[in-house]
Point group: C2
Chain length 207, copies 2
């Protein structure tokens, strides 16, 4: 199945700015996106990166500088269903987790993200448009139902864990082993286990 992977080239992962500078955020976002592309390819998807500006590294890229929702809906209209959309910031995504997206026989399949987002979806009907915003999962469910489309969910921790905030980096170190995890380790991040949930610390720069 064709899959779009929206990728923000310009100011990715801005909510990580307390722990990563702009160049680091760009490098980490790229490592994560490449992990997602590899996992998608291993799961049999044919990924196209939908980037906000030109990039030179993915195998297939379309540049569209419009807002995320507009760009994805334009691609949905142009390519037609079936089409999957998978966010680029899912460093825990595995081929097994991504394969689950195509299993439910529903017009719209949704994988929720932490905090109400929609981290991945499969669209098999022309009567559904995406609307990415905060807490979009509720509105995607409602939109599908009001279009008369059948809806299913994929219950995946790995697809729910997008990396938006510093605390999310702990999940990468705990559960991932690809480029994003390697990048964090190389940048000096380590798990910090205190009372409550694991967080991360960063080793002071040397030299």
């Amino acid at each position: 199945m064709d899959v779009l992977v929206p990728f923000d080239v310009r100011d990715p992962k801005s909510r990580l700015d307390s722990v990563l500078d702009a160049d680091e955020r760009a490098a980490f976002a790229r490592a994560t996106c490449r992990d997602v592309l590899d996992a998608l390819a291993a799961a049999g998807f044919e990924p196209t990166v939908l980037a906000t500006a030109a990039v030179d590294w993915p195998p297939s890229v379309v540049v569209d500088d419009r807002p995320l929702t507009t760009a994805v809906n334009a691609a949905l209209t142009e390519r037609g269903p079936p089409l999957a959309v998978v966010m680029a910031d899912l460093p825990l995504a595995t081929p097994a987790a991504l394969s689950r997206l195509t299993k439910p026989d529903a017009d719209v399949v949704l994988a929720p993200g932490l905090g109400g987002g929609t981290n991945a979806l499969v669209v098999r009907t022309a009567d559904f448009a995406v609307d990415f915003h905060d807490a979009s999962i509720r509105d995607h469910r409602a939109a599908a139902r009001s279009a008369g489309a059948s809806v299913a969910s994929v219950d995946s921790f790995r697809l729910a864990c997008d990396v938006d905030e510093p605390a999310d980096l702990a999940e990468v170190l705990l559960h991932a082993d690809g480029r994003a995890a390697d990048w964090l380790a190389d940048a000096g991040f380590e798990l910090s286990v205190t009372a409550g949930r694991a967080t991360v610390t960063r080793a002071p720069e040397t030299g």
Copy 2:
């Protein structure tokens, strides 16, 4: 399969103390535990609550006031495998999500929680003991492997979402519809959708 549901009667959900007083935390924890018990029963498990002090409401309860790890390992030894352990603070747990715990044909099946915890597990070998602590998921994996036990994971967002912190309440309002979600709504909690992840607000008390 028999399943233990450890339940802290004395000071449950202490990290919610910024938004709920002690009586409210007790009531919310009880509502959540009852949701988990219902979902387990619907999934064909036979749950026993492993409580830190007497409670009058579950169908089957064993009181053990020792620390969580000690109490669970004592019950594992006494009852023998196979045995499941499912945390009481999983308000998003559904029968479908819980049923996935018994699917993998492995000696130890682990369902990770956010932040490195272990929210549910199935033990089919006498050579494995639990050790619940922060970031226990890594140590449970390692302990199973060093015991020569096969290990599998269940990739479930619903089982990963325990409720420890105020931000977790948003997941309940977004994805659950049982007693815990009703209790929060009755207590005045509503989703608050701003930039970033959904959070909750609580209506001011009236009267």
